[in-house]
Symmetry: D3
Subunit: 209 residues, 6 copies
């Protein structure tokens, strides 16, 4: 008969500092470090920290781009903090567009779950990679490159995107140019766009200056 | 009037060594390095390298686990090589199970697209994190930890998993123990399983020794 | 004659923020980050932070596995925090075994100092790598793969293991399966083990459910 | 008297595989890996591999942006391959501009050596960080974020930029939008720019479609 | 007419936890982590955090080495914290020398802005790489290797150095040997230098023991 | 009764490109990359690639330093390539010394197996950390810092060192200064050592110039 094993690994398993860095669930109330959010104490971690239900709800596409992005980054989904991975949901109504943007902190893989998308990115060598994607197709967008997605089908589209970072960031080109206080003359000088064009889009997107 | 810009960045853009490491599409015919497969020459890269359609096809679940895993790792999907990300598709028929396994090289996020799954993992501190997941739910499994997924609903389930590595690896516990030539006495000594149990499962899984 | 050098590097050397990240001795009382424990203030660091004597003491092998693991991870040995390295001591009495386990966070090199060990690991491709090791032999176990060590000689064995992480973690297969509250039916479904076998080992190892 | 030391480290120092990864000078003729170019054989490496004189020559600013960028990335300066660092030279004539661009692979620090620059970047949170820089000032542009530099003084300006990557990449916004074959309707849909504006700039920058 | 876009990315952009890890400006008052200083709250960050003017001022070379090093590491220039890059200024009067030293944490690229320098490093294979550098030349010193710079021209020299780390560290050989309390007999035993030589330089550099 | 499982993971397990990056055993005949040696084809890998017996043999201490270092880096022990770990053996006869040196590529942990050592390192802040170590003691030397070991007992000493890199490198101070062709005047200028002292040690260590 086998008798209960004496807990030989007790130093490891019973330690009050049990966090052996399997994971680091984000505690948003503490100061951040360059590697991500600080860790919640292991004793306070529960399975709900590792599960997120927010991507099950369709985003509101009643807007000018007829699209919605719902992130599950470390800020929304603390369980991925420090693990180099995160997700987001894309809803695109008919005619919907996710405008040109970059993720400064990570690469992205797009998975089409419903509908048809036209997606593309441009490389540092200025080559355009563009493709029409159907349900079940996946496409990768390497880190930091400008890319876009367009609902090119006749029906609602649904996609999920994965990132190689828990905090990939999101920089939307139109927001950078037309939705903040960057002066029109600076934009004109650094993009060659006409001032009238800039002012028109600043008006639409809420930019000042 | 604006006249055509002289290509001031010509050194960068016209270089015959244009690969500025935006990406490194895998060339499976060349020797690998610790960082992944060697890169296809940039001039030979096309958009099809960045797109994969293999996850659009349901895996065959007519097997004893009533489940199928279809990977889109760098080996199958060369565009993700070196980018720290990859995907896979999980099909689980009614009663289907993805048995206990680990990914030695990366963390995983599971996304339920159809059906209901019961998923769980165990930490180094031997805490069990287990949860029933519905359509739209996501769950993260930190790198290297043993985890499993069970179709706990009454219908076919479909899920997609993302990894924080282009080559996360996959080590299925039952395969490690019962589907190779590891001698029964070694397995018995290192797992405390009874020899009869080991032999029964070796028979089922094709193990020898 | 040489006169004393004026301290030209004074900005660096006299800074009250002198920690130029040569090291980051763990302060276990502060919140952790994904990169490890927070750093003790440089002024409070002494040479004893960089020295650990706990591996000089033989572990207690009077237990069912006739073996003991004594870790010198960042939790026990704060000087290695953030440096990507740590050690542990293995004592194996005659017949002693370190059961199947993984280190989710790092690779391991085993060094046999006394006795004879039979050690092995299994790859993602399900190949078994197994070898009898004598005094002075070293063997590497790549990150995250299931591996074991058995005292295969007729005398006490002593080994030291090094890790490529300050917090490699330790997941012992038998603990995952039989020493927590994971329900028997879940274990049966995800391992194909018989319920009787599972209950027998739960009894021996203290598992419930 | 001291007699010559017998070369006790001979295994290390006399090895025919002497490359102990101090450096990896790029051999551009071999296949690349995700971590950079392959290494030149150590025996063929000379000091000239670690020195580059190309940044000593002013770039030609007789172009529409009145500016020139001269890179010393791993492709031009093989000695930095694998070391996570590279440089470039910026020449800006009066009125010169380095238009909005990103470096997908690394952060940048700008050093003004002559003249006055107005430089800025926009964060993921859409905050604008903009500043006039004088001789001796340095400014950091975090990885992957859109940024620009303008000669805002009345004289020629000279600056050097350093990167946290040997191959940081360079994606110039105007090139992405107006200097390739991305169709006008796609650009319009993904930027909200007017078709007339797009066509005007395609004309100036050589774009087609 | 375009109407204002509804802010579809509001979850990201309006979050009170807006820090999506574009950057992590150092807050020197908080505990450090192995990855660097803790981050200042995003709301408190201004453009001045990303700009540093300290390198515009010549260092004081009225000292025995006739040289001065002015660092812009994360401690002095908080904006580079976590970004893997930093700078420093070197001033060398006629006959000035930056003595043999290493940067334990990063590689260095030297840029000569004025004058002529003789610079060199030694590899692990004990090969000497030495070169006379003129204005505009750059030279790379791989991580952790001993190197030096000498003003070999007849006039004041000015150079800037970039590092592949925000906290590269600086270990000056003469300081290690002769400017602390390391006992003379230990130095003699570990360097083969004569005791008289050691004591002479201890006297000059302020060493004790 | 259980029938044999159909191999559902066949795509992964039967792939001709089975290398899922669990490991990358060095093939020294192929070009290196910045991340290490190229990988041997998985089919050619055997357990002997993961085992090394060279550290079981005492080094020859019949030399002026009465010490010997036997490395098990990736060059000698191909199984550790790419895994961020390696070992070495130190033999020190009575009076033996491992002179001041650095490892540019990794941190080190020293384990004393026999005898008594006096070991020390100096930080960037020029603080000396020195300690007498007995059998079983371990001490960590952070990456890139100058350190030494002295046999301070009355008997032969034996130690093993672990590194956080498969190719940590080794730069011995005396070799850098006195065992190559670095000119005496350059050494004098960059170390403040007297020419006579330099010439004496060049004579002993084989240096020229």
């Amino acid at each position: 008969m086998i008798t209960p094993i004496i807990f030989i690994f007790s130093l490891l398993l019973s330690s009050s500092h049990a966090a052996v860095q399997d994971f680091c669930v984000a505690d948003l109330s503490l100061p951040e470090s360059p590697a991500g959010y600080a860790c919640k104490k292991p004793a306070a971690v529960t399975v709900t920290d590792f599960v997120f239900s927010g991507l099950g709800i369709a985003g509101n596409t009643s807007n000018i781009i007829k699209a919605a992005v719902t992130p599950a980054f470390a800020t929304q989904f603390p369980g991925v903090n420090g693990l180099g991975i995160s997700l987001a949901r894309l809803d695109l109504a008919v005619g919907g567009v996710v405008p040109f943007h970059t993720h400064p902190g990570g690469s992205e893989v797009l998975l089409v779950v419903q509908g048809t998308l036209c997606a593309g990115f441009v490389s540092s060598a200025n080559t355009v990679y563009i493709k029409t994607l159907k349900k079940g197709d996946i496409m990768v967008f390497p880190q930091g490159l400008l890319h876009f997605q367009i609902n090119s089908g006749g029906s609602q589209a649904l996609a999920f995107v994965s990132f190689s970072s828990a905090t990939p960031g999101l920089q939307i080109l139109d927001y950078v140019l037309f939705a903040n206080n960057l002066p029109t003359e600076v934009i004109a000088a650094t993009t060659f766009l006409d001032a009238a064009q800039i002012k028109k889009l600043k008006g639409a997107l809420g930019g000042t200056g």
